[in-house]
Amino acid sequence: MSTKVSSATAAAVPAVAIRGLCKWYGRFQALHGIDLTVARGERLVVCGPSGSGKSTLIRTINALEGFERGEIEVDGIPLSRQPKAVEAVRSRVGMVFQQFNLFPHLTALDNCTLPLRLVRRLPAAAAQERALHYLSKVRIPEQAGKFPAQLSGGQQQRVAIARALAMQPDIMLFDEPTSSLDPEMVKEVLDTMVQLATEGMTMIVVTHEMGFARQVADRVIFMDHGSIIEQGAPAEFFERPQHERSRLFLLKVLH
């Protein structure tokens, strides 16, 4: 624990800094003045009931969602609606989705190489080499030639992780990465994420997998109705939740 704290204080610029973030969908306010700082190398788990704004929050970090008030800085870059700012942020942030969102018309390998070639401008051979490296890292190099429809849900999600990692981002966002998986495939995806965590990647993970949160998170934040209700170290949060709403939520997800 002490090493993590020292590395967090040593880093002059936090990975993500969010101040007073507000977002509305029409007249419905989805986020109510969120303040959140994520240090470099920190593993943050975001939990909360559905509709609490946790997905919306992490989707604002790479500008998949806009916001009306407040500010976000990623690696010190202020996020605006300007193409330059958004491109700079997206090149530092990788994202993994609940529905995988692999490109179904491309093989697993091409899913990884296409963005490398179009965005990073790598030549074909270098892109393929790097893609295969990351497919090996998620332990499915042998599936490289298959189309997404030929892979299991767990394999698809691992390809999606490899695709995001191949872009070599500083920060990884996970939006409920195991929620649409069959139970027996959850573990292989979580194992991949645990491995990533041990390598020091900055991770912001929206998940209901409380075992994963206990095992790897430096901090858990609990959201409800668009606000951060409570935050703390996982041991603290799971053993002694301070708020009534957190207690009720934990009762439901921990059975």
Partner: protein, 324 residues
Amino acid sequence: MHYADNVDYPPLLRRPIVFLPGLALLFELLRWWNVGASAVGVGLVRLLHLAALSPASSNVLIAALLTLLVGFNLAVVIRLPLRWQVYLVWLELAILLLVFFYSFNLSFAFIERKIGFLLRQGLVMTLYISVVSISIASVLALLGAIAKLSSNGIALGIANFYTSLFRGIPLLMQIYMIYLGLPQLGYVVNALPTGIAALSLCYGAYMTEIFRAGIESIPRGQWEAARALGLKPSSTTLRIILPQAMRVIIPPTGNQFIAMLKDSSLVSVVGVWELMYLARTQGQTEFRHVEMMITASLIYWIFSILLELIQARIERYYGRAHEH
């Protein structure tokens, strides 16, 4: 069957409550149409040496004979495997169609004399017009679809007006308007460019809707994943969205191409030497209209079948990522 079921309902044609009234109805219809006096009936009467019978009784006899023949045929075909059922039904219907044409007492010598010219000039021109027009129409449709999905009010307005106008006016009218209207502005347009322009504009308008629906069918997550990876909007559209939309776009576009092959015959009104125009003018020279109409129809049909086969191959290509 597309949706396989594990319940064996008795086939319709094996139920007496279906086939008995069906055959009775067929018999009544044949009798009512006076089949004994038709070309088929007369042929059968001659074949079976029934000339001695009165017309009324030979009519009943021929109707009963044909009804029995149909019943026997059904009984045989229904016992075959599915694939052979399809082949046999095709063969029988094709024979009936040819018998129908044959009954016109056609001059095959005339057809033989003219068919070379119909193919060399008419078919080549028809295919040329269709291929060029469908290509231009595809480009127009892509632009139209992108405009319709954009947030640019000017582009949206132009695209809406375009599809509304060219889907709302008969194609024949569009051909006349371009051919006879543009000269009023000082531009004299030849017949062939007129035809190609009218077909391209009209089909581009229909296909705009096909392309738009195809693009809209791709889930939002695809766009988000590509954008999150840093792809620009243009590469996201070209490399991620459109290749997937093609799978949805191809079947109705193939349909449009087959429709265009035949709608290109409308261009004959301005005197382009395509299949329909030649069939009409060549027929007129010797008052052999029916020969030329039937020949041209069969050529259209054969090429529609070829296009269907090509379409099936392209569909398989774009569907290959979805085979398990």
